[in-house]
């Protein structure tokens, strides 16, 4: 009995610990608990859909490379050199590559290789080559060695019995490794490669000559290199953008400001998909929580998952939407007619979105010939300014007056359209084939594309006969004629696209009712507050803060908790510490009283005093639940343990946000304050 209840106690404590932020939250917003649950579900659903399609896109993009690597592993053999694949990841930042290499490892594993992955952090000056081997054996042999000889690998391999199973070692980032240790490790591996089919895969983030800059000639001579290339991050980005936003995958879309924020962030600052995905996630969260009708998205996704939205199940959509609208905050006040109006608006919005995305993709296909990236095109297409500035009966861009032309000069849209006119007939045919694909389900354009295509195909058939003719004046004239004809077709194609553009491509912000599906508040992305991150489960706390809030912001948030907490005690007391204050805030407020060194023991005592000042609620519950016999001896100790755990967590969180430095070896009892003042 006693043991059981012991376990229970711990569970409760853990739960408490885990839920503390929510406890605070619920005090503040008890009214909206229900709404929150709804929001959370909606988020989960929408985000999982988006996430899935991102994963699919990446899987498809990487699949080709993975197969190539696998084929290379199987095909070539070397007896005296270590076969090494350099995988050029083409991105200086390696956040994305961590995933890529993890996927590669699992792919190769499923193809029947022994795979071990070493992170560049394992190959550091501090740990030396012993750490590399330790990790290696840990993954292959599942054993932990303090000091191991590389020959163990060979003994282990012979014991496995399968002699054709390659042994693959993956190192994710060459540049981040400590070169001398890496060289030593590679030489060891290459000695081992005589005995067993050992293969090394090394990720290279930067230039092609990076391996030669980093590794010495002795090491390079022991390698038999091969090279593989990942697609450029910009290309991956475009693919993801296409899958997630241009073909709206969960009906979620973003406004122009958000789009250009994303674009600028990608181009100017980060260039990783990881952060792009993270911003997108924050956008989805923000949208669902901020927008009163955000939850409606869920209904739309729901319906779509049952069946593709068509004329036939528009009724289903209608009913679901109505339900969703009812559950909205002021949904009950909504009359039936306004609900109907909303439903109509939303289905119209959905229809427009579809045609928008087909035209946008057609435009992108045309733009590809002049090297336009979807990211640029997307943010330009969303710009309400381009839409509004354009007079309705616009002249074709190529006929427009010089002044107008100059204003169009930078425009990617017009650049793409202009390019259509210069295309060769084969290219044009390719383009039209693509258009045909994209315009499916958008009959208006589809028919015209097919018509145009037939013209091009006919012409293509005529062409060879002409080429067979001798070069005479007649022939020259014929080619000139053909050229004219070609430009005619090209012009037609360009005209078609322009027409469609004008007709269908209205930036989403200009469509009424867009707020439901479109996230526009770019400022919300930039100042996602520390507390909001901490309190919201989907974000998993501080670590996913995207832009890295300036420390000042975090400090402010930590100190001015009373502005966030809407409970009575905190509103009244201002900065006074009370029970509902979040531990990290308590800790940081206490830290203010210290200099740059904080004695942990003292600080713990004051922390303990601060959080147990008034008879605490958790303690009470604890006492009630624990059996009477045991309470006297164990109760306080456990309460202490709980406080200690909370203390530790608070300290660690402060370290994570970069406000504290952990105790050093020299002063094990002190933590160091890093930030002073605001």
């Amino acid at each position: 009995m006693i043991n059981e209840s012991d376990g229970d106690d711990w569970l409760i404590m853990e739960e408490k610990l885990h839920e503390q932020p929510f406890f605070v939250l619920h005090r503040g917003r008890r009214r909206s608990e229900l709404k929150e649950e709804d929001e959370f579900e909606a988020f989960e659903m929408i985000w999982s859909k988006i996430e899935r399609s991102i994963k699919d896109v990446l899987k498809e993009m990487n699949g080709d490379l993975f197969d190539k690597v696998n084929g290379w592993i199987r095909n070539q053999h070397s007896h005296n050199q270590l076969r090494t694949a350099f995988v050029f990841t083409k991105n200086m930042e390696n956040v994305d590559d961590i995933d890529t290499f993890a996927n590669l490892a699992s792919h190769l594993n499923s193809q029947g290789c022994h795979v071990a992955t070493l992170f560049s952090s394992d190959i550091s000056a501090n740990n030396g080559v012993a750490a590399c081997l330790k990790r290696l054996f840990n993954q292959f042999l599942m054993l932990d060695f303090d000091a191991a000889h590389i020959s163990i690998l060979a003994s282990w391999y012979t014991e496995q019995g399968a002699y054709n199973k390659p042994v693959v070692v993956i190192i994710d980032n060459l540049e981040r490794c400590y070169a001398p240790v890496l060289s030593h490790f590679i030489i060891m591996l290459s000695e081992c490669a005589v005995k067993i089919p050992l293969i090394l895969i090394v990720g290279v983030a930067t230039t092609l000559d990076a391996p030669h800059r980093i590794l010495s000639s002795t090491v390079l001579h022991s390698l038999l290199p091969a090279e593989f290339y990942l697609t450029f991050p910009a290309a991956r980005m475009d693919a993801i953008l296409e899958a997630v936003l241009v073909k709206p995958c969960a009906f979620f879309s973003i406004g122009h400001k958000v789009a250009s924020f994303l674009r600028n962030y990608f181009v100017d600052h980060d260039g990783t998909l990881t952060s792009f995905v993270r911003v997108l996630k924050i956008a989805v969260i923000q949208h669902i929580t901020m927008e009163p009708l955000g939850v409606v998205l869920r209904a739309m996704v729901d319906v779509e998952q049952t069946k593709d939205i068509g004329a036939n199940n528009i009724d289903l959509l209608e009913t679901r939407l109505k339900e969703a609208l009812k559950s909205c905050p002021n949904g009950n006040d909504m009359t039936n007619s306004t609900a109907n109006e909303w439903v109509n608006r939303l289905s119209e919005l959905h229809r427009l979105q579809k045609s928008w995305s087909s035209v946008a993709m057609c435009l992108y296909e045309a733009g590809k010939f002049s090297g336009v990236s979807l990211l640029d095109l997307y943010s330009e297409l969303l710009d309400p300014k381009t839409y509004n500035s354009e007079p309705n009966e616009t002249i074709m861009p190529f006929k427009s007056s010089p002044v107008e032309r100059s204003s169009h000069q930078d425009s990617i849209i017009w650049k793409s359209i202009r390019k259509i006119r210069d295309l060769q007939s084969t290219e044009l045919r390719q383009l039209l084939e693509k258009w045909e694909q994209y315009s499916k389900g958008f009959t208006e354009m589809h028919n015209e594309v097919i018509e145009l295509k037939s013209v091009v195909v006919n012409e293509g058939n005529k062409r060879p006969r002409r080429e067979a003719q001798e070069l005479s004046i007649h022939a020259v004239r014929a080619t000139i004629n053909a050229e004219k004809e070609r430009t005619k077709v090209n012009e037609k194609a360009a005209m078609l696209l322009t027409r469609m553009l004008r007709k269908c491509v209205r930036p989403i912000e200009c469509i009424p009712g867009n707020e439901t599906v479109c996230f526009q508040k770019v400022d919300k992305l930039q100042s996602v507050k520390y507390f909001e991150f901490l309190l919201r489960r989907p974000c998993k706390g501080v670590l996913s803060a995207l832009l890295g809030d300036p420390r000042r912001r975090i400090q402010l948030d930590l100190l001015e908790f009373h502005t966030f907490l809407k409970c009575n005690c905190c509103c009244k007391n201002g900065r006074m510490l009370s029970l509902s204050v979040y531990d990290t805030s308590v800790m940081y407020t206490l830290a203010q009283e210290h200099g740059d060194l904080i004695n942990l023991h003292e600080c713990f005592q004051s922390f303990k005093a601060a959080i147990s000042q008034p008879p605490t609620k958790p303690k009470k519950r604890l006492k009630q639940l624990s059996p009477k016999g045991k309470t006297d001896t164990n109760g306080p100790a456990k309460a202490d343990a709980l406080i200690q755990a909370r203390f530790c967590r608070a300290v660690i969180e402060l370290q994570l946000v970069g406000l504290l430095r952990m105790p050093s070896k020299r002063r094990p009892d002190f933590v160091q304050r890093i930030a002073f003042g605001l």
């Binding site: 990841t89 200086m92 000695e191 990076a210 390079l220 991050p233």
Partner: protein, 537 residues
């Protein structure tokens, strides 16, 4: 030219590779279960090759006759105690392979440990003990060593305990072979311990203890049945810090001469005449750069195929004319290849050049990404690019010039001064420039980097006006926002190196590590006029 016999592939016959023979045996289905591996015996310490003569041995290592003879003399006849040996010479001069082949020839039991794979004393000691104790690591013993041994003193004791066992069997063995005369060659009654790559121990934490210990090992063991051979790239002078022991007998392996190289490369060639004429062309220029067999053979391989290209497949008689033709065919390739010798196995670079160009075309078509972005091999954010350029400038230019380069009024002053510059001043400038080049990239504090960064980003104002307006200014000053983050990624990518903090200023100093070409490439992708800012004296 059979590939297996090329000198390149006379790979070190280490213990590891010698015992590699167990794998093919198993492959033949002799035993499918790894756990059934039979226990090791004394025979495993001796390489069971077919006996071969001294002449054959010298043929395998053509340029090492002197060393072979000397080694055999120093090791002495069967069962004769020997002084410890110290074998040294440059890398890739055949030390290890000569020693191991000599032991194969002599057919004596030996224990071989290389400090490459034994990267700390404990592993070295345990590895030697494992071999002496005939211990095999397997799943049964969780791949652990026979004895745990951390300290040199323990090692001596354990070795003393372990050696009699093996010496007993050896004695028994030799008695048997003597009595039976069954054609089994005698192993003798001695065990030799060979420790390779001794120079690596100098980097160990406790090298000041371990190195003298290894030199003293013979004295400490006091067992005449054990011979110790140390192999090192570094000469003995650097080790002898302590004279309390008998200095080992040094055996020097000099670098190969050009004739030696010719002998080695001519070994087992399919078409000796052709290869000889090829060596006439390449050996001289190459032997000035490197005499390492491994480097030369990788360099020669593609060159030889190039050399043979005009011949086609037919067996042409090698006339002087033909030679001249082949020479003129090869000549343009030699000079560029010379530069690559140290940097890489050349197939990699060629492959990379080909692939890259192919890749570029392919992906440009496929993904239609801006052509200009493909000028760079990899993606870098705009902010990181500017930061890299600033770092390059900060390393390249003297700090005193910053004001005149980036400040408009300073620039004017500078021009005035320029007009007045005399011959003398010019000379000084040249000297200074020379000095800058010799010194390499300079280091700079973070503040200077940030100042330059801010200047060049404001000069180019990379954002078109309208866009800035649209963004509501939030990213207008945006390039600055995560500059420290970018700096750390640049450091991680090895473009900027972070030095230790300066003792005088107390702040960390940085240094740009990129070549000018890369900096120019980055600048071009930004359309930034970098050359205008580089100080050239």
């Amino acid at each position: 030219m059979s590939k297996d016999e090329s000198p390149k592939t006379t790979r070190r016959m280490t213990r590891l590779s010698l015992s590699a023979t167990s794998t093919p045996n198993l492959k033949n289905g002799e035993s499918s279960k790894g756990c059934d591996l039979e226990a090791l015996s004394v025979h495993d310490l001796v390489s069971d090759d077919i006996p071969f003569s001294l002449e054959e041995l010298i043929n395998v290592l053509p340029a090492r006759r002197g060393q072979i003879v000397e080694l055999i003399r120093l090791i002495g006849p069967l069962d004769c105690p020997m002084n410890p040996l110290f074998v040294y010479g440059g890398p890739s001069t055949g030390k290890t392979s000569t020693i191991l082949n000599v032991f194969r020839y002599l057919n004596r039991p030996f224990v071989y440990s290389s400090l490459v794979s034994c990267y700390n004393p404990r592993i070295l000691f345990e590895n030697v003990l494992n071999q002496v104790l005939l211990h095999r690591k397997n799943k049964g013993n969780r791949y652990s060593s026979a004895k745990r041994c951390d300290k040199p003193s323990d090692f001596v004791n354990l070795l003393r305990d372990a050696l009699p066992g093996i010496l007993e069997t050896l004695k028994g063995n030799s008695a048997k072979s003597c009595s039976k005369k069954s054609g089994v060659r005698p192993y003798g009654k001695m065990v030799y311990i060979i420790i390779d790559n001794l120079e690596l121990a100098r980097a160990w934490d406790n090298s000041s203890n371990i190195l003298p210990f290894l030199f003293k090992l013979n004295d400490l063991l006091k067992m005449p049945e054990v011979g110790i051979i140390l192999i090192s790239r570094a000469s003995p002078d650097i080790y002898y810090s302590d004279t309390g022991y008998v200095e080992p007998v040094p055996v020097f392996f000099p670098d190969y001469t050009e004739d030696d190289l010719r002998l080695i490369f001519m070994k087992d060639k399919e078409n000796p005449k052709l290869y000889s004429s090829f060596l006439d062309v390449v050996l001289k220029p190459y032997s000035r750069i490197t005499r390492r067999i491994d480097e030369l053979s990788t360099a020669f391989l593609p060159l030889f195929t190039k050399y043979c290209e005009p011949l086609g497949h037919s067996d042409v008689v090698l006339s002087e004319d033909m030679k001249r033709k082949l020479f003129s065919h090869l000549q343009p390739h030699i000079a560029p290849a010379l530069n690559k010798t140290f940097t890489m196995p050349s197939q990699l670079q060629e492959a990379s050049a080909n692939k890259e160009s192919g890749q570029r075309k392919g992906s440009a078509k496929k993904f239609g990404v801006n052509e200009t972005s493909y000028e760079m091999d990899f993606h870098m954010s705009t902010s990181a690019k500017y930061l890299l350029i600033s770092a390059f400038l900060a390393s390249r230019n003297p700090a005193t010039l910053d004001a005149s380069l980036f400040d408009s009024t300073g620039g004017l002053n500078n021009q005035k001064r320029k007009r007045k510059s005399s011959e003398k001043a010019k000379e000084n400038k040249e000297m200074a420039e020379q000095e800058v080049l010799m010194k390499g990239p300079g280091s700079f504090p973070l503040e200077r980097l940030l100042a330059i960064f801010q200047c060049i980003t404001s000069v180019t104002d990379y954002l078109p006006d309208d866009e800035e307006e649209k963004d509501g200014g939030h990213i207008g000053n945006g390039l600055m926002t995560d500059v420290l983050l970018q700096l750390s990624s640049l450091c991680n990518a090895n473009f900027i190196s972070k030095g230790t903090s300066c003792p005088l200023e107390g702040s960390t100093r940085y240094r740009s590590m990129i070549p000018e070409e890369l900096a120019l490439k980055v600048a071009r992708s930004l359309k930034f006029p970098l050359s205008r800012y580089i100080y050239r004296g």
